[in-house]
């Protein structure tokens, strides 16, 4: 499984060295690399099923500082690596129409993917941080070069938010490393170091917020909608699909895993909040409801999806804060589910629809009768929208249900508030679906004429393949969630037993 990392970086290097003008070659090469990575991830996932933590690589990296190149995989890692593999292939498929500096696009793309694989497989805090930072820089270039609406602004905002977040993580890393005696940066060793409770009390929020910025936690989410909208389709798929998961994964693995006492009650309560856990849970719930409400009011199709990501990532963070088995299972499953569904939504909006209509304004799309003219897009969006609303049979349902059950055990009010978010979620998805595809306006004769004259390009095979890949993933997981849960549950159990409560 470690080869997913090396393969991605090798892919990035080869793409960077490709001569200009060989766009077709660059594309097929990218598909081959991403496909191979997916196969590696899949075989790793299947062969790892039922096993606990498996060490993939362990070498002394900087012996004098006790830093190890330690790659390992547990159930959570395997699920997220699989998600990254799927998202990478889908991203390549939906980038088939990139004509500008194609090889550079895929070079940055695979540098990002390699960093993401690395984060999910690192069990050394330092190594995790290194890969995390490697993933930040290519995002900037992907958005700034190949993006659309206000790309310079969106890209810079994203880069600075990420970098501020990682600066917070770095402070936490340095403080934990030196406080534990500067012997090792392995996650296991840092967790066992027994840092004093008062130190964990400030390290936990520092590291948690540092990672949660990238997970789109309210009120640090504002990079997400602008970044998603500015990004080219593949980049916004990756951004919503896997990069936001980097943040949530970091919250879980580093924030909660290393500083469990940071979640302890403060001993006093302020505005009804008695611990950091309450604070972040409330922020997560606000994110769920706020993201959904703002999505309801958007006029740009892509902003709707962008804010829906904030809302769905709120479920992940809420699941983390439940601190019980079912809630954490739900959080990890929601990471996978949202990764696939958000990827699908962004692909339909940014690639299939926008590349043909050249507008994302819902008001303009309303006049185009897309259900009739782009039936494939319409039905794909129906499936993705239903999955996103969390209807049974799709992965989102089981994930959000678990989070809500877990939240109920922790604090019923959280469930009630998050339930409001789900209802609003149905509303904005429905609104977008209706406005963009199923308008009831009757076409005039003039409109019909111009439709005849300017027909939309037919759906290409990469688009179909990408939609199929993502759609099948969400349905399979929705119908048979045990596939993933069998891996997630033991890992979460081990994490909880590792002293989180």
């Amino acid at each position: 499984m470690a080869w997913t990392i090396y393969l991605s970086f090798a892919g990035a290097l080869v793409e960077a060295l490709l001569p200009k003008g060989k766009n077709e070659l660059a594309r097929w090469l990218a598909l081959a690399v991403a496909g191979a990575a997916l196969i590696l991830a899949l075989t790793g996932f299947v062969s790892g099923m039922g096993q606990g933590r498996v060490v993939l690589a362990d070498a002394a990296w900087v012996p004098s500082m006790g830093i190890h190149y330690l790659l390992a995989a547990d159930g959570i890692s395997r699920v997220l690596v699989l998600l990254t593999g799927i998202a990478a292939v889908a991203g390549v498929l939906f980038s088939w129409n990139i004509e500008l500096r194609t090889n550079q696009f895929f070079a940055f793309y695979f540098a990002l993917i390699g960093g993401v694989f690395g984060v999910f497989l690192s069990f050394d805090f330092f190594l995790l941080f290194t890969f995390y930072e490697i993933a930040i820089v290519p995002k900037y270039f992907l958005i700034a070069i190949w993006g659309s609406t206000r790309r310079g602004y969106g890209a810079m905002k994203l880069a600075l938010y990420s970098f501020v977040g990682s600066a917070m993580v770095l402070i936490g890393l340095l403080a934990a490393y030196t406080a534990s005696g500067s012997h090792s940066t392995a996650l296991v060793d840092l967790a066992r170091a027994g840092l004093p409770v008062h130190m964990q009390m400030w390290l936990f929020p520092l590291v948690f917020v540092g990672f949660a910025i990238l997970a789109g936690m309210w009120p640090f989410h504002t990079w997400a909608p602008t970044g998603h909208v500015a990004a080219p389709t593949a980049a916004s798929m990756l951004l919503a699909g896997v990069v936001m998961k980097l943040g949530a994964y970091g919250c879980l693995r580093a924030g909660m895993g290393l500083f469990p006492h940071g979640l302890d009650p403060w001993g006093f309560s302020f505005l009804g909040l008695g611990s950091w856990r309450d604070v972040f849970a409330v922020l997560a719930v606000i994110g769920i409801v706020y993201g959904a409400l703002v999505a309801l009011a958007q006029s740009d199709f892509k902003f709707v999806i962008g804010y829906s990501s904030v809302s769905h990532m709120g479920f992940v963070l809420l699941g983390l804060m439940t601190l019980n088995q079912i809630g954490l299972d739900g959080a990890v499953l929601q990471m996978f589910s949202h990764g696939v569904i958000a990827g699908l939504l962004f692909a339909i909006v940014g690639r299939i629809v926008y590349e043909r209509t050249h507008t994302r304004q819902l008001a303009e799309l309303e006049t185009m009768h897309l259900a009739r003219r782009l039936p494939f897009a319409a039905w794909a969006f129906v499936i993705a929208g239903i999955a996103s609303m969390g209807l049974p049979g799709f992965s989102g349902f089981i994930a959000e249900l678990q989070v809500l059950v877990g939240a109920w055990h922790a604090n019923p009010w959280w469930t009630a508030a998050a339930g409001v978010g789900i209802v609003v979620g149905v509303a904005y998805t429905w609104r977008a679906l209706q406005k963009a595809f199923f308008t009831d306006a009757v076409p005039t004769a003039h409109e019909l004429e111009s439709e005849q004259a300017h027909g939309f390009a037919p759906i290409t095979w990469p688009e179909m393949a990408g939609v199929a890949l993502l759609g099948i993933s969400t349905i399979v997981v929705g119908l048979y969630p045990r596939i993933l849960l069998d891996s997630i549950e033991p890992a979460v159990k081990a994490l909880l037993a590792g002293g989180m409560q």
């Binding site: 960077a16 990296w61 900087v62 012996p63 004098s64 500082m65 550079q104 330092f126 941080f129 290194t130 930072e133 490697i134 930040i136 820089v137 900037y140 270039f141 700034a144 070069i145 310079g152 890209a155 810079m156 880069a159 600075l160 970098f163 501020v164 990682s166 600066a167 770095l170 402070i171 340095l174 403080a175 490393y177 030196t178 500067s182």
Partner: protein
């Protein structure tokens, strides 16, 4: 005192001076009629050969320093140290000097190649001297040797008004700061009755215990002004932007790298002497005093250099980090941007000096930082020089569309600037991590933690201005798409530097082990 010892210890400097004379003779006698290109190449190669021989001589110098007179024991009255941190810094100075000489091959700002190389070699000898100096007078002589060379190098582009202006400003500021430094040294001598660093620390400690503290503070502030000028710490940094902008590129690279390495090596030896003089006097029980800091804990605070010096360094560090980074945000010239970023980097290193460890961890971390920073800066100036020759400007907009005009150069820029910003897996990140870990390892308390947090926050800000350059190189469309040609030697050197930055970043233990092996 043994003059054979003196010859052994100063052999590297002697080699450099001999090489300088050889270069002059070769250029002015034998190559008088040759074309300029050949003369430049010959002078550079001779200079590089001199650096290589001097490197070998550093190895020969051994670990025994040179002492004058016979003091209380080994190590006292040391004039020049050898080996250890001094050795590392000296090798670093030689390597960086050789690299700046390689960048000269492509330059056309002067017809006096021989003189240029000779001055570079002499200045490098001054740098090596202060890296090893353990005595106030040797320090001053070394600093002057280095500084005078730098003034000349800055003014070397005779046809450029900017170069003359920069040199004049640099000279005036430099002369002033040298005066401050000497004034401070004279107070130290007056307080302690000695010019040898360990004795100065001991003597001032005794003197301040008897009421001489104010005088000591005045002296230390004067010295901080003098040395702060050398490392471009705020508020003594004003010369840096003008000099970096006006000096010919190879000279600017030399000032930004070699001079920095030498000055920080000097600061390292001052800081470690300030911590270790008790050890040398076999006062083992006073370690507690030495580690007492200006933290508000109820610790008995001893007067003297060990407490006052870190405080001054800390103030310089904070102002440099904050002002350097914020001023860099507003620059539109890449050279000025590099100057302010140099101020910011000096701030991070001063933080490492302010929290200097009893063990060698801090010294090694600072050396690691300054050597890799010097290497990266030489590369950055190399890129600026190539772009400047092609476009006639060092504005950020000169970098527009660089990825199309010269993809290799753009890739080098990407690696170097991201390394300066401290992005892993490049070496700049390791240097920062190393340094901050050393700071936190020493300062058990919230002050060091807050300062490290400030430093990390500031380096997050720095990403913004480094990205401004990369944005023009990679993102924004080119206004002019003619390819930029770089001299093959220059290109190879730049690629080698970028590769080194990447490899040392992926395998940080290589350089760490090398530094520790001295």
């Amino acid at each position: 005192m043994n003059y054979a010892d003196l010859f052994r210890v100063t052999l590297p400097e002697t080699v450099l001076e001999v090489a300088a004379i050889v270069v002059l003779v070769a250029d002015l006698v034998f190559l008088r009629k040759a074309v300029l290109r050949a003369r430049v190449a010959a002078a550079s190669l001779l200079g590089i050969a001199g650096c290589a021989v001097a490197w070998w001589a550093v190895g020969c110098a051994g670990a025994q320093g040179f002492s004058a007179g016979q003091g209380w024991g080994a190590g006292s009255d040391l004039l020049l140290a050898a080996g250890g941190t001094a050795g590392v810094a000296q090798v670093g100075i030689l390597v960086l000097t050789a690299l700046t000489l390689l960048l000269l091959i492509d330059a056309d700002f002067t017809r006096h190649a021989g003189e240029y190389v000779a001055v570079v070699l002499m200045a490098a000898a001054g740098g090596m001297l202060i890296a090893a100096a353990q005595d106030l007078l040797v320090i001053f002589i070394g600093l002057e040797l280095l500084s005078l060379g730098l003034y000349i190098l800055t003014a070397f582009a005779k046809k450029s008004g900017k170069s003359a202006e920069a040199a004049m400003k640099y000279y005036l500021f430099g002369g002033m700061s040298a005066a401050f430094l000497l004034f401070g040294f004279s107070y130290l001598y007056g307080l302690s009755g000695s010019t040898s660093l360990p004795r100065v620390v001991y003597g001032t400690y005794m003197a301040s215990a008897h009421g001489g503290t104010m005088l000591l503070y005045v002296a230390l502030v004067m010295i901080a002004a003098g040395l702060g000028f050398k490392v471009a710490a705020v508020p003594f940094h004003l010369w840096a932007p003008d000099t970096y902008e006006g000096a010919p590129a190879p000279a600017a690279a030399f000032i930004a790298s070699v001079s920095k390495v030498a000055s920080f090596a000097l600061l390292i030896s001052i800081s470690s002497v300030a911590l270790h003089f008790f050890g040398e006097l076999h006062f083992t029980y006073v370690k507690a005093y030495v580690t007492a800091r200006i933290v508000s804990e109820p610790v008995h605070i001893t007067p003297g250099i060990p407490t006052a010096w870190p405080l001054i360094l800390m103030v310089l560090a904070v102002t440099s980090m904050v002002l350097g980074n914020l001023a860099a945000l507003a620059q539109s010239s890449v050279r000025r941007l590099l100057a302010y970023s140099a101020v910011a980097h000096a701030g991070y290193i001063l933080l490492g000096l302010a929290f200097f460890s009893w063990s060698s961890a801090s010294a090694h971390a600072i050396l690691y930082y300054i050597l890799t920073y010097g290497l990266t800066t030489v590369g950055a100036f190399g890129v600026v020089a190539v772009v400047e020759r092609a476009t006639g400007s060092d504005r950020m907009d000169a970098f527009l569309g660089l990825q199309k005009r010269n993809p290799l150069l753009a890739a080098v820029t990407l690696v170097l600037f991201l390394s300066l910003a401290g992005i892993p897996p490049l070496v700049g990140f390791w240097a920062k991590f190393n340094l901050f870990a050393a700071v936190l390892g020493v300062g058990a308390g919230s002050v060091s933690l807050w300062l490290v947090a400030l430093a990390i926050a500031m380096s997050a800000i720095s990403l913004y201005y480094y990205l401004q350059v990369l944005k023009r190189a990679y993102v924004m469309p080119a206004t002019d798409e003619t390819p930029i040609q770089a001299h093959p030697v220059t290109l190879v050197v730049l690629l080698a530097i970028a590769a080194a930055v990447l490899v040392m970043g992926c395998f940080p233990a290589l350089l760490q082990n090398w530094i520790a092996s001295f």
